[in-house]
Structure formats: structure tokens, C-alpha cells
């Protein structure tokens, strides 16, 4: 059994299905911790974790911070603005300086793809990717997987369609890796200009029209339309995007089955998703947020433990 994640979590691409299931199964009991009157367990007492955010983030940063605090770790938040980063210090220097203060883990978000893995190779601390450029956002995909598994009782065999800007989305990329590894069928739907090449090689179906995606899917994971895409000419206008691609109750009504609605947030209501859908009976959007804390607790817990060289000695003395 691969009861080990290694040193870093940089993406789902290189994880085995067993490792992904290990994280999801470990997240399960952590849900209950957040329901306790005292929402805290001492598992990571004495660990120091730095949240290094080079990009704006509310949900992900707060979710990580709650996860860290509920495990009793000590946390420090570093944002790019107002730190030595804005004075021209390199990323590795920033991280090495933090490490000189004896930290144990770094959670990093950065606009450049591949930064998390790059950093992980250069520092001793555990590195967790909280989103790197267009590359991956593994904990988001893990919480999506957990939410799908909660709702449907399984992932294997389900049809999950990612809708919208797949090209620029690290959430989509991590979801495609995670879903395919766990045996789901994955579809994508959105404007041609926002679709990456080479999806067929991963076994991903392309739906040119939202109606076809709705006809096919059990789950729609509706990606956020980044508004700056419009300025760069990928889409003509927000109104037109809503008219052609927007997920509306009228469109969902024609579906042969009830479709689970997901969105990684923040939502543009009335653009990629209609408010009546976002707040509707099949929306699990807020469950995703709740599960985010549990999944991040599981990842922190699994990465923090497991020093195999000590484990053997300890097991000999254990009960």
C-alpha cells in the first residue's frame, strides 16, 4: 500500500489512484473535526507553516489557514506586495530565508506554472501547491473529487463535464488528472478559443454546445470566466457568453437526469452560471467550500507525518 505522499504535493498528474484515494479517505474524519465545539486537534502542534501567496486569493488562502489552525500548526501569511518580493528578491531566496527561521511547510500560490515543483526541489520543507499559473491546483481538484464522491457515492463511471475556460484553468487541469485516474469519464465544453489541444489523448470528450454537455453529464463543474479573457479577445462579450454558454435552469430542465452543479468560485453570477442554478437544489457549491478545509487538513496531515527512518524504530516499541 502506498500510504505515503512523498515530500510535496505539486499536482495530481504524478499521483497514483491509491494516493488520491488515500487523501480522500483521510479527509473523511477531518470533516467531523470542523463540526466540534472546539474545532481543533493537536496533530500538527509545533509545526510552522508559511502561506506564500503571490496571487490574490481569498477562499483558498483562508481554507488553508483554517486547515492549518484546526490542526494546531503555527501559521504565517506572506503576500507578494509589502514583502521583500516587491524589492526584487528571488523566490528561492525568499524561501531559503524563511527556512532559515526553521519552518516546516510552505503553501505556495504563484502566477507561473511549475513554481511549486521548482521550489520543492530547492528547499527541505514540504511544499504544497495552492495554484501555479495554468499548471495545477491540486487541492481544489481533490475537494471537487470528495464532493462528487459524497454526492454520488462513487467517482468511477460518472460523467463529469468541465464547462468554460479550460485553456487557462489549472482547476480544470487538476480535475482532468484526478477524475480520469479515479475512473470517471471527463468531458469539456466551451468556446473553441478556450480549449487546449491534445485533450483527446487524455480520453476527454469535447462538447461544442452546452446543450450536448447537459444531455451527457452527471456533474457539471462550471469554471469561472476570467473577465480579463474578454479584453484579450477570447470571447466577444459577457452577455453573449451567458447567452451561448451560460448554465441556466431552462437548459438544465431538458436534461435526462438531475445534474450536480459545481463551481470552484468566485462565481460570476449571470455570466457562466445563472443565480437560480447556483442556489438551486442540485448545487453543491458550498459543500465544495466545506470539503476544502477537510481535504487540506488531510494533505497537511499526510505530508507532515511519515518519517520512515524513524517509523521502524518506533513500531518495535509500540503496542
Amino acid at each position: 500500500m502506498t500510504a505515503n505522499l512523498g515530500k510535496d504535493l505539486t499536482g495530481l498528474e504524478h499521483l497514483t489512484p491509491e494516493q488520491i484515494r488515500l487523501i480522500l479517505d483521510t479527509a473523511e474524519p477531518f470533516k467531523e473535526v470542523s463540526e466540534r465545539p472546539i474545532k481543533k486537534v493537536p496533530a500538527l502542534r509545533g509545526k510552522t507553516i508559511v502561506n506564500l501567496f503571490f496571487e490574490a486569493s481569498t477562499r483558498t488562502r483562508i481554507s488553508f489557514e483554517f486547515a492549518e489552525k484546526r490542526l494546531s500548526a503555527d501559521t504565517v501569511n506572506v503576500a507578494a506586495t509589502g514583502s521583500s518580493v516587491s524589492k526584487g528578491e528571488t523566490l528561492v531566496d525568499t524561501a531559503k530565508n524563511l527556512e532559515a527561521m526553521r519552518i516546516d511547510m510552505v503553501v505556495i500560490r504563484h502566477p507561473s506554472s511549475g513554481v511549486a515543483a521548482f521550489l520543492g526541489q530547492r528547499i527541505r520543507s514540504n511544499v504544497i501547491n495552492a495554484g501555479d499559473g495554468k499548471h495545477e491546483h491540486p487541492t481544489q481538484a481533490l475537494l471537487d473529487l470528495l464532493t462528487i464522491r459524497d454526492k454520488h457515492g462513487k467517482i468511477e463511471g460518472l460523467k463529469v463535464c468541465l464547462v468554460g475556460d479550460v485553456l487557462h484553468s489549472r482547476v480544470a487541469r487538476s480535475n482532468i488528472w484526478g477524475l480520469t485516474k479515479l475512473g470517471a469519464q471527463v468531458g469539456v465544453c466551451g468556446p473553441h478559443t478556450l480549449m487546449p489541444r491534445g485533450l483527446e489523448e487524455l480520453g476527454v470528450k469535447f462538447f461544442p454546445r452546452i446543450e450536448e454537455a447537459i444531455e451527457w453529464a452527471d456533474v457539471l463543474n462550471i469554471l469561472r470566466l476570467q473577465l480579463e479573457r474578454m479584453e484579450k479577445g477570447f470571447i466577444p462579450s459577457l452577455r453573449e457568453y451567458y447567452r451561448v454558454w451560460g448554465v441556466t435552469p431552462e437548459r438544465l430542465e431538458r436534461a435526462p437526469r438531475a445534474i450536480t452543479i459545481m463551481h470552484p468560485g468566485p462565481m460570476n453570477r449571470g455570466v457562466e452560471i445563472d443565480s437560480r442554478v447556483a442556489d438551486g437544489p442540485h448545487s453543491v457549491i458550498l459543500d465544495q467550500v466545506t470539503n476544502g478545509v477537510a481535504v487540506r487538513m488531510a494533505v497537511l496531515y499526510l505530508l507532515a507525518g511519515g518519517r520512515p527512518e524513524l517509523a521502524d524504530a518506533a513500531k518495535r516499541g509500540a503496542e
Binding site: E28, V33, L71, R307, A318, E319
Partner: protein, 180 residues
């Protein structure tokens, strides 16, 4: 070739049933009745044992006893040495423990570290009036100043021995063995 381990039966099904009966009576005596009593089993086999003892008390006294389950994995002090335990069991405490008499039930008492962790965890759920400890087997070898209030069977062991508790619900039979 490793030496063949020797298995000695400490309690067979009937002896285990008698021990649990006696423990149930002792729990009621210790708590002077059942008014504020809560039985809390430690995952995994402590949960089954707590359930059995609770049923015996309920039958004898004609009451309904609240019971809970505690997984102490996240309260252990050895994450760095033994590594994360991948499957963490359920923790479920159905009532507010404040003012109650909580009886922790576990299968084997050895170093005392599990009980230390359980006491820490219970403190995060409220302030019981009293906490007692009830174990099926006390095998000695304490590393902390912790003792059980109620013991089904005490047995002398040396480090390296294993006390193997099997319960019908999980293992298909009731039996306690010493593996040496």
C-alpha cells in the same frame, strides 16, 4: 527463519462474557447508578466492548445509556515517528459531557499513551464531572502514571508480547490471546 510465535488463550468466549458481565456491574457500582453515565469506547475494539457493556447495564437497570466513540489518532504524540495513520475512525459524542461521568472503555491497557490522548481529546468536548477507565485486559508496562478503575483481566507481559483481542462483531469470535 523467525522463531514461531506461541499463542496462549487468556480468555475464551465464555470467560470474556463473564468478565464483561462483571465489568458492567462494577461500572454501575462505580457510578452509583446510571444517572449521568456515558460510556465512551476507543476505536476500534473499545467501541464494541463499550456497546456490550452498555447493553448489559441497560438490560439490568432498565435504562437507556448514551455511548460514544473516540478515535485518538489526531491526539497522539508520535506522528513524526510512526507516521500518519491513513484510516482514522469515527469520533462521535452524542451528548454534552459537561457534568457527566464518562467511562472510557478500551480493549488493552499498556503504555497508557492512548488513554493520555483520550483524556486530552475528551477535554476538548466539555468538562465531565468525572472520567473513569475500564479495560478488558491490563497488560502492565505503563509509561505514564495512569491506572484503570475497572479491569477484566490482568496479565503480566514483557515488551515484544502482543495481546490480541478479538470481538465477534469485527473478528467473528470472542477471544483474548497472548502472542509471545
Amino acid at each position: 527463519m523467525p522463531p514461531k510465535s506461541e499463542r496462549t488463550i487468556l480468555l475464551d468466549a465464555r470467560a470474556m462474557s463473564r468478565a464483561l458481565q462483571r465489568m458492567a456491574v462494577e461500572v454501575t457500582e462505580l457510578a452509583h447508578g446510571t444517572a449521568d453515565l456515558v460510556l465512551i469506547g476507543i476505536q476500534r475494539r473499545g467501541v464494541e466492548l463499550a456497546e456490550r457493556i452498555a447493553k448489559m447495564i441497560e438490560k439490568e437497570e432498565g435504562v437507556t445509556l448514551p455511548r460514544g466513540a473516540l478515535d485518538i489518532t489526531l491526539y497522539r504524540d508520535d506522528l513524526e515517528t510512526v507516521g500518519p495513520k491513513p484510516v482514522i475512525g469515527e469520533t462521535r459524542l452524542p451528548v454534552d459531557l459537561t457534568g457527566k461521568h464518562a467511562v472510557i472503555v478500551d480493549d488493552v491497557l499498556y503504555t497508557g499513551r492512548t488513554v493520555r490522548a483520550a483524556l486530552d481529546e475528551l477535554a476538548d468536548f466539555g468538562r465531565p464531572q468525572r472520567i473513569s477507565l475500564c479495560v478488558l485486559v491490563d497488560r502492565g508496562g505503563r509509561e505514564l502514571p495512569i491506572q484503570a478503575d475497572i479491569v477484566g483481566q490482568a496479565v503480566k507481559t514483557v515488551p515484544g508480547d502482543r495481546v490480541d483481542v478479538q470481538v465477534e462483531e469485527l473478528d467473528g469470535r470472542d477471544q483474548v490471546e497472548l502472542v509471545r
